[in-house]
């Protein structure tokens, strides 16, 4: 199963996500229908895309996301529980059996900031996990954290702190600290 003129992986991705012009798309359709090799590679990409979607809907992955992404989750019918915290705030939180995801809306002064890192601490300082360069919305002043729902549902009561660190040429500055007191539902 070979192909003399295989479609490049980047082109397959663009095709799958609807980025190629209509005329090129028709040519790619024709090639794919006649080529078992490229079909197989597109099938791998489709499986990966479907797997990513399932990982989100089944809460298997921790993510920092955008506002439109949350809207897409709602449109997909996912049940979301949301907690909004100002800097220095804390909240008693949980995840119910029928919740698909918990959203932590971390408020912070983000205007003019180049990069934001997220630090998660669960237990002592040795458990500190720093995630560099997370997505944020300077206009709304929010960082949206979605912890793995599958992991949360498996957890007993625990406390977690999150910190947002602004990173720029002048150095680093903490811009918010947030405390989550989780208890199982």
């Amino acid at each position: 199963m070979t192909c003399k003129n295989p479609i490049g992986f980047e082109t397959l991705i663009a095709y799958w996500l609807g980025e190629v012009p209509e005329k090129s798309e028709a040519k790619l359709d024709e090639h794919l229908f006649g080529c078992a090799h490229c079909t197989r590679r597109l099938e791998e990409l489709a499986a990966l895309a479907w797997g990513v979607r399932a990982a989100v809907t089944e809460g298997r992955v921790t993510m920092v996301v955008s506002g439109p992404f949350l809207e897409a989750m709602k449109q997909a019918g996912l049940a979301l529980r949301e907690y909004r915290l100002d800097p220095g705030g804390s909240v008693n939180c949980t995840i119910a059996t029928d919740d698909d995801a918990v959203i932590s809306r971390l408020q912070a002064p983000l205007s003019g900031i180049e990069r934001v890192d997220l630090v998660r601490v669960q237990g002592g300082a040795e458990s500190e996990l720093r995630v560099a360069d997370v997505p944020f919305n300077a206009a709304t002043g929010e960082v949206l954290v979605v912890p793995s729902a599958a992991w949360l549902k498996s957890m007993p009561a625990f406390r977690m702190q999150m910190r947002l660190i602004a990173v720029g040429k002048a150095g680093e500055k903490q811009i918010g600290e947030y405390t989550f007191n989780h208890s199982p539902s």
């Binding site: 024709e30 499986a47 997505p135 300077a138």
Partner: protein
């Protein structure tokens, strides 16, 4: 549906001709082999254009049952151009599905038990736990780009607007992240 080695030397057109020449006694082995070869192509076309797994499965059944019926009845003038016929039928059916003029009930009314009994090959599925671990292994920026791209099938420019980065930058990050994911999943290939 396993690959039938008896047909390894036959291309799609030759296989179609063989089905068409079988006459009153259908060559069910050749038909099964043609179905096995073409079903993934039609399903991917359906997924790409309809973004719905059930609709794509219906498309596969409809298109391939129409194709086999035409071949059996000798109504396909150029069996060597079977792939063009299947693509054209797929395009028309997708248009009807989008317009809402295609009904699943029609498929069942037309083909009855045949439609229910068709043994379509299963779509490729990945180990979900392994994929979750591989996703966690990406950088946050890479994970965001991959998740935003594939959860709602968004093109690079849209993802870039959400993350305040350029579409070109999204494409670079996306390409790198997918290469890492495929390698992590053990699917790294020869191409690039």
């Amino acid at each position: 549906m396993a690959h039938d080695s008896r047909f390894a030397a036959l291309d799609d057109g030759a296989l179609a001709r063989r089905i068409g020449e079988a006459g009153a006694a259908p060559d069910s082995a050749a038909e099964a082999e043609l179905y096995r070869r073409l079903a993934p192509r039609v399903r991917l076309y359906g997924l790409r254009h309809l973004r719905d797994r059930d609709a794509a499965a219906d498309l596969v059944q409809h298109v391939l049952l129409v194709t086999l019926e035409r071949l059996r009845a000798g109504k396909l003038r150029e069996p060597d151009r079977i792939v063009s016929f299947v693509l054209g039928t797929s395009r028309m059916t997708v248009l009807e599905m989008r317009r809402g003029t295609w009904r699943r009930e029609t498929l069942l009314e037309t083909w009855g038990e045949t439609a229910e009994a068709v043994d379509a090959p299963e779509p490729l599925a990945l180990d979900p736990d392994r994929l979750a671990r591989c996703l966690e292994g990406l950088s946050e920026r890479e994970r965001s780009v991959v998740v935003l791209s594939f959860f709602a099938d968004k093109p690079a420019d849209e993802v870039g607007a959400e993350l305040s980065i350029s579409g070109g930058n999204v494409r670079v990050i996306r390409h790198r992240a997918l290469a890492r994911l495929r390698e992590c999943m053990g699917a790294a290939e020869e191409e690039q």
